[in-house]
Symmetry: C2
Amino acid sequence: MPNHSTKFKIKDMDITSGSPLVAIINKRDAERLDLHPLDRIKIKKGSKIETVVIDIAESKKSVKPGYIGVFEEVIKSLSLKSSDKVSIILARKPLSLEFIKNKLDGKKLNGKEIDQIVWDIVHNKLSDVELTYFVSACYTNVMDFDETIMLTKSIAKNGTTLNLKKHPIIDKHSIGGVPGNRTTMIIVPIIAAAGLYIPKTSSRSITSPSGTADTMEVLADVSFSIEKMRKIVYKTKGCIVWGGALNLAPADDKIIKVERPLSIDAESQLLASIMAKKLSVGSTHILIDIPAGNDTKVKNITEALKLKRDFEKIGKRLKRNIKVLITNGRQPVGNGIGPALEARDVLWVLKRDPRRPLDLEKKCIMMCSNIFKMVGIEDGYKKADDILDSGKAYQKMVDIIKAQGGKKFIAKDIKIGKYASDILSKNSGKVIDIDNILISRIARICGAPSDKGAGIYLYKHIGDSVKKGEKLFTVYAESKQKLEYAKEDINSSKIVIVK
Amino acid sequence: MPNHSTKFKIKDMDITSGSPLVAIINKRDAERLDLHPLDRIKIKKGSKIETVVIDIAESKKSVKPGYIGVFEEVIKSLSLKSSDKVSIILARKPLSLEFIKNKLDGKKLNGKEIDQIVWDIVHNKLSDVELTYFVSACYTNVMDFDETIMLTKSIAKNGTTLNLKKHPIIDKHSIGGVPGNRTTMIIVPIIAAAGLYIPKTSSRSITSPSGTADTMEVLADVSFSIEKMRKIVYKTKGCIVWGGALNLAPADDKIIKVERPLSIDAESQLLASIMAKKLSVGSTHILIDIPAGNDTKVKNITEALKLKRDFEKIGKRLKRNIKVLITNGRQPVGNGIGPALEARDVLWVLKRDPRRPLDLEKKCIMMCSNIFKMVGIEDGYKKADDILDSGKAYQKMVDIIKAQGGKKFIAKDIKIGKYASDILSKNSGKVIDIDNILISRIARICGAPSDKGAGIYLYKHIGDSVKKGEKLFTVYAESKQKLEYAKEDINSSKIVIVK
């Protein structure tokens, strides 16, 4: 393309891009100007300029020769009207493309280069193809420790921050893959009831039947701005909100988008992704829970120990107090799997209802005692137990739910899917294994997490005795058809293995 | 997303996608159904089904909740009208994603896996992000020889084929990076005049001032269907057509699209890309020209020798007779650079006009003598020289130009850009170097290849004596402004170095 300007008429495409700004020109203009898909041009209207990535329209129906189709963001930013005339000139490629190429070639990135890449990602300067090269480069030429630290800082820096101006600020994180495991919703009220700040952000489900944000949403709102989150935390000391609404780590969100199609899971990015969000909320004391089990994210103790060391190392470098627990990830934690069933478990634990799942309660108390120890509080196990017993944790949860605009505080108010089916054991014996992946799959077929009442309720855990014909679990759905789909898929003897 | 169907109303987006089929749904529906960008769904209307990749509309302006925005290809394939109701269900990921992930993890691909990947690429089953992972995987975990052979075969198999049913079929290929070097347009008429079949496909410029297809286009049409190409070759034995119009290697075209943003150039893909097209036209005897020089594609003799060995090895495995020449790539070949200027050089050589560039003529005769030797014709140098002298090569070129719908056969009919500026030497001495990259850059600023008459005409080559104030080269443009832009950029003493 010549480096001087060419005139085009505007066509409003009536589309928002979300990602990098895109403009569409006809194939004939593209050939004439030697422009190719993913090239960048500057669109100029008066003194306003916007850089966009080119897409090519094959047919005249989309964009005729002489026209340039633009998305809403460009219309707004240049105050354009249909049939306005604009000039276009070839734009330089973003600086970060060279650094991404270097990384792909196996070179190490420095802080300035990582900052530039992250800035370009956050400001939509990179196309999905270019971002994919970055993710792919970091996946094959794994980032070393220094690069990971710089990436973490850069992701945090390029997002919003909470800045509570309090000390200490507690945080916790559980690595995924274990159904149930709703520790956050029990730990946050206990810690906050003890007078400590714990501004917890959680994620929604990606491939599981429910994320903590999905489960909390059964009881209260979870989408808040950072200002609203700050107000809630000043009021109640704790919160359980959805991290995705806060823009804490927008670079990370965009990276995850292109990781999804291939289920890429670069370890450096896992660490950076978790730790950046902790930096953003200002956490000083962070408890990490790594459940290990062959059908969870961390497959075995060796992997878990490596990850533990990495977290401890990164904690030291970022000057955060990090404690890592390796826990049992061989089976679901708690009985309910799916948003409403998990929320009911949580309220039962906080109320110390006889129906509560004791494994979940025990794990939460243990985790709280570790947190207390980190901030110098002795006898933490007893302290957490007392806070639960006294009803203070439950009361704190009620306060948090109210602060987050919720109205449900009682387990029996939670609506469970009205279509249900009991799955019985085909033989007598002991439960020797429960398949996390199949449990998740069935709960999702039932409709979780979008159907809040859908999921599975487990009656047995590993080690329990079972008689032939006894209930192993119940599946719940909000529609009859989904229940039927789930039942077709169930092979009970592979889900809960009794021998 | 639940695995049963959900109903949506159609919105016609008035866009053609070109690549994988895309459908847009509103953010609210995406959250409700747990759908993410780049997920795949099946759209069902009656008994017709089409699989598409999801994109998410952030605003209601693009696509309202309850609507699904679809591109023209989907409208056509499902015979949709606006506000038609369709159902959508979650679709499986293409099989090839698993293989791409394996390659990214450093595993070797087998023939079936490569076939599946190439098939999915050609049939638009992969999004740009997924295709980028494949390119990136092959770039970092370089394909071995077996994989390259399989990729070559697969690319050829998944495109159109010429199938002339003649023997031998001659072909030639020059690796890029050297301005000028329009050997094809001289070799094809010589070889065809000798009675041999040479169905030559060429590319357009990507970053150079002209590709052979761009230069040939000055004299004749170059875009033909494979059927039309076959007719031309049966008539004239030779042709010079644009490969891009023939769909010989559609997988390769799509790969190149995502390679461009990062200027990725995987060697295995270079080999596969060249050889697949040779397989598609049925070439039996192939001459490869590797110009080596530090400002061309192949930087030095070591690289050139490695590439030569790879070509010879791949030739053996594909049972093709391949001969590789390493030539001098230190400076442009011929005097003209830019479509019209190169076309004029070519006609001058074919006419043995006194103004012809002797370096280009000599190189072509040498290459023809090598081709003759490959098919058992002795004394090839003399034979090529005789064919030129007799006017048979020129007459053959006239026949080819006519067969390709062209009307220009005489050098003086070729229009050179009317704005010109002579660049003079600032000192006396000998030309010791000419910078290929700067020459290309200036020719492109002048307007080449889209302005056919734009470019550079060189008066001096390496080794020539120059006096201070003598003309080194002339720059030509079709607009005054472009000539001015070029002149601003010219630093003559760095382009043609006289010492």
